[in-house]
């Protein structure tokens, strides 16, 4: 009997050490039946892309609170593409100024979530992206 699960990496690129938000999201995705590969703090874009390749994920969730998203996110998307994984959804949570959101969307980021986002919304967006709505 075949059973497919949505697989998601939750990672914190960059140097800030606050991972509570990432853990809350990881837990919510788990409770929605997803398999969450949690890679922890201080991940380089190369580490995240390598994990995405080895884990064959549907989506990558990035928590960025340091303000470095405009440097980190394009690099990660570039590496995913170089690995043949341009179909992997990239979702970003954290402190993202409003004016950056359209630019991130243009790059192909599938979702951007600021403080106060309901975890249900993130779950639904990832399910819709992976083509598995519950």
């Amino acid at each position: 009997m075949s059973q497919e699960k949505i697989r998601v990496i939750v990672a914190k690129p960059g140097l800030d050490g606050h991972d509570r938000g990432a853990k809350v999201v990881a837990r919510a995705l788990r409770d929605a039946g997803m398999e969450v590969i949690y890679t922890g703090l201080r991940q380089t874009p190369e580490m995240i892309a390598e994990a995405a390749l080895q884990e064959d994920v549907h989506a990558v969730g990035l928590s960025v609170l340091s303000g470095a998203h405009m440097a980190l996110v394009p690099r990660i998307m570039e590496l995913l593409k170089a690995n043949g994984q341009e179909n992997v959804g990239v979702f970003i949570g954290g402190i993202i100024p409003d004016e950056d959101v359209p630019r991130l969307r243009e790059m192909g980021v599938a979702g951007v979530y600021g403080p106060g986002t309901r975890t249900d919304d993130i779950v639904q967006d990832i399910q819709a992206f992976a083509g598995q709505t519950s």
């Binding site: 059973q3 929605a32 039946g33 398999e35 969450v36 590969i37 390749l53 884990e55 064959d56 690995n83």
Partner: protein, 334 residues
């Protein structure tokens, strides 16, 4: 979704990763690919790492893999795959797979491939499709495959029939010496590792394990009717060694690798390697026969019939055993 078996054999990492998903999901494409890959396997050293939660299995796997990649004794580096299993939630079916957090020493190395797996309801410490994932890595040319089980207590012993060499990881302060003579996980150890050996209590832990080993009677071991070690009368017997490590620092890991290689040499010299392979393949065939028989039977019976018989059990008009007879043979055996 098709699987490009040729690309997997040629070393394409994305093709391999997609194949692993097909195998994990037990799709027809995955099953078909494993059939094609089977003749290419059988070369890798399969090393199991098990033990209670918090004993430091992931950190130890990180260090073992790192030392296989950077050998101190001048031997060539070996290609290493890691299969790390963590539990699925029994309620949502979801999982948080966190073993990669401890494996950062392996990033950026093309000779390493780490794959996390959720146990998906399986109770023996591995997922039902872990054996298939291991087989895919083997065929793809990985020379060492490290299999990390879920944090195991006493009964999660499936790893012993999948791996050639099983490491059971203990840490100071986790139980008294009666725990050590109970059946189960300690019995399956080919090598016992006392990790976190810089912590207080390491002497007591090692002493309890050593006493346990002295009470044991090393000799022939059968696993589900198949002899897996000590089959020959005059063959040397493997005495389970104890190795102290501090996985976060790498202390004791080069010595542990020597023990792993020594165990491998022992398996080859005594013929136990072939015995373990036969035991593993026998179990695998039996499991597939069972699941395929069940699937065929289930396809031949309507949901209505099935529900009706179950209903009679709920009303206590049939016992579960009678119900099984009715469902399989169409009537109750007298």
């Amino acid at each position: 979704m098709t699987v490009d078996v040729q690309a997997v054999l040629a070393g394409n990492r994305l093709a391999l990763s997609r194949l692993l998903s097909q195998v994990e999901n037990d799709t027809l494409a995955g099953q078909h690919a494993l059939v094609q890959l089977f003749p290419h396997g059988g070369k890798a050293a399969l090393i199991g790492v098990t033990g209670a939660p918090g004993t430091g299995k992931s950190s130890l796997v990180n260090q073992i893999a790192y030392h296989f990649r950077h050998p101190e004794d001048g031997r060539p580096a070996r290609r290493v795959a890691v299969v790390a299993v963590d539990p699925s939630s029994p309620f949502s079916g979801g999982a948080v797979l966190g073993d990669r957090i401890r494996m950062s020493a392996l990033t950026g190395d093309e000779g390493v491939f780490i794959r996390s797996m959720a146990s998906r309801g399986s109770l023996g410490g591995l997922a039902r499709t872990t054996a298939g994932v291991v087989q895919a890595f083997d065929a793809a040319g990985f020379e060492v495959i490290l299999i990390e089980t879920v944090g195991a207590g006493q009964a999660e012993v499936d790893i012993a029939r999948l791996a050639h060499t099983t490491l059971v990881v203990e840490a100071p302060g986790l139980g008294d010496d009666i725990q050590a003579i109970k059946a189960g996980i300690l019995e399956i150890a080919d090598i016992l590792v006392v990790n976190k050996a810089d912590r207080p209590g390491v002497e007591q832990t090692e002493r309890a394990l050593r006493n346990m080993l002295q009470l044991a009677h090393p000799g022939r071991r059968d696993f589900e009717g198949v002899t897996i070690s000590g089959g020959g009368e005059s063959e040397p017997i493997w005495l389970t060694p104890i190795q102290r490590t501090v996985a976060t620092e790498g202390d004791g890991v080069p010595e542990l690798l020597k023990l792993i290689d020594a165990h491998r040499a022992h398996l080859e010299e005594t013929g136990d390697l072939a015995r373990r392979e036969r035991a593993r393949l026998t179990v695998e065939v039996n499991l597939l026969v069972e699941s395929s028989l069940v699937a065929d039977w289930r396809a031949g019976i309507s949901n209505g019939q099935y529900e009706e018989v179950l209903g009679m059990v709920f009303e206590r008009r049939l016992s579960p055993r009678q119900a099984a007879e009715v469902l399989i043979h169409g009537e109750e055996a007298s």
